[in-house]
Amino acid sequence: MSRALPDDDVRISPLRQRLGRLTGYWLALPGGLWLAIFFVIPMVYLLSLSLMTGDFINGFSQTFHVSTYWHTISLYHDQFVRSIIYAIIVTLLTIVLAYPMAYWIAMRGGRHKSTYLLIILLPFFVSFVIRTLQWQFILADNGFVLGTLKHLHLVGSDFHLLATPVAVICGLTYNYLPFMVLPLYVSIERLDPRLMEAANDLYASKLQALLRIVLPLTVPGIFAGVLMTFVPVASDFVNAQLLGGAKTTMIGNVIYTLYLTNNDYPAASALSFTLMGALLIGIFAYARALGTKDVMEAAAL
């Protein structure tokens, strides 16, 4: 190929240089296109489908029918509220359960830190559905927990856990606990140990050091953990399906049934879109409340 500028001082030919400048584009193109076609554009279709009217047999047509939203929200607001309440309870439970553990591993884990982290990740090597089913089995009416308690007459013979909110919340807490431990661990581990020494030198008690130094400095980690648990928990339907009953239905179950059993696509997509909107608004409000600097740090975790 002929060079446009046969200049010996230019080590890389201009053509190469130009191609080189385009490298970023062609490297990003396949991935960017894939995400555009199968993630961004589907969002538009989700919105579009939610504004259609019709039924499964006669087909759906675009009518920009906004009232589907008010209709489905008023019809299923119980499940909506329940999902949010469960998500709040589960998120708080995971923070309480995870913080002491992440603190201990980060501060006193020593050279076994990575072993502890691997154990925390072990459940991920078992399918999510199978893990949840094991809880169905562990919490069963005559399973080894309740069976033993009943045998010892510690609880009444008609006591049960499955199909109650307790079982669903237990399952959700179990499944999303690692998502809270890991970001907390990362943010505690990054703390400068000299800060604790300084607190100690200045006669802070251990509790004061924890409340006034460690906790405020690990807020970004808590933020990341809350994002990683609250969002998936609020939209989960597997735990409510496998461990819950008619009174623990969450919004995910409703969406699943509307799409795949009732074929009521507009209602299902309207709920889906509402859920996403609610979660997005929540995330942004939360980000505003915490300040953008912390959010950027959390995103960098």
């Binding site: 995400l35 199968f38 989700l46 990740l121 939209s235």
Partner: protein, 274 residues
């Protein structure tokens, strides 16, 4: 016991009260809680049950390991899961790895937008990913099945590969590649001999993550599977009827495979450091 003169932490040792042990004991209790379902799964893969119900332990047997493939539907589902996971891993590592390189090293117009999409995709709940993709397929009348599952899996794996590779590329010393170019290597050779070996840990981590995400995925898959059944879908579908012990065995084998791979990559990383 230790002597108590050298340094402050050692000197403090004899003063340890019982409260010192609260946190370690607590941590181990939570770790056990996290692993409890795994123990139950492995144990009941050895359970000598008579019927389809696998609820109480009735004695040790290896027969489920021998009859691992006795249930046709389950075997087909596992095959689908495995082939989809392998294909999704290969394709998403290629596409997502390139995207990660682009985000980590190059400047291009729209970079901010692309990183925002990557971040948004990771933050979007899986339920919304699944239902929006289903809306696309429904509106365009695309029949759902094996290939739509594969498309969806590649879609949710790409951002994770891109993020891990980007982190690795951003931490690289760019002067090494420049040195290779100065010494007359073509950009292709410089990539193969210098950049690729250095970002390999990121690519491997992305591949492991993709495989784990794909083989385990239930939510997105359930919306876009049509009549095709994968391993998690089969297990979910048969949960009302009672889970056959083969599910526990397959779960155990997948678990062991994952643990061995992870342990191997940790040990390999440690060896390199030494």
């Amino acid at each position: 016991m230790t002597t108590s003169v050298k340094s402050a932490p050692v000197a403090r040792r004899p003063k340890r009260k019982w409260t010192y042990y609260i946190l370690p004991v607590y941590t181990w209790a939570v770790l056990l809680y996290l692993c409890l379902p795994i123990f139950v799964m492995i144990l009941f893969g050895f359970n000598n049950t008579k019927g389809r119900y696998n609820i109480t332990f009735q004695g040790f047997t290896l027969k489920w390991y021998k009859e691992l493939f006795a249930i046709g539907g389950l075997t087909d589902a596992l095959k689908n899961s495995l082939t989809i996971a392998v294909l999704a891993t290969i394709i998403s590592v290629a596409i997502g790895g390139a995207l990660g390189m682009a985000l980590g090293r190059y400047r291009f117009r729209g970079k901010g937008g692309v990183s925002l999409v990557v971040f948004a995709q990771i933050a979007t709940p899986e339920l919304v990913l699944g239902t929006s993709l289903l809306s696309l397929f429904l509106t365009l009348n695309i029949p759902r099945g094996y290939w739509t599952i594969l498309l969806a899996h590649i879609m949710f794996c790409i951002p994770f590969v891109a993020v891990t590779v980007q982190a690795r590329v951003a931490g690289l010393d760019g002067s090494l590649r420049e040195a290779a170019l100065d010494l007359g290597a073509t950009p292709m050779v410089a990539f193969r001999k210098v950049t690729l070996p250095m970002i390999m840990p990121g690519i491997l981590a992305g591949a492991l993550l993709s495989f784990a995400l794909s083989i385990d995925d239930f939510v997105t898959t359930s919306f876009n599977a049509g009549q095709t059944v994968t391993f998690p879908l089969w297990v979910y579908g048969s949960s009302r009827l009672g889970i056959p012990a083969q599910v526990n065995v397959m779960g155990t084998l997948i678990f062991l495979f994952g643990v061995i791979l992870a342990a191997y990559s940790i040990l390999a990383g440690r060896r390199k450091k030494n």
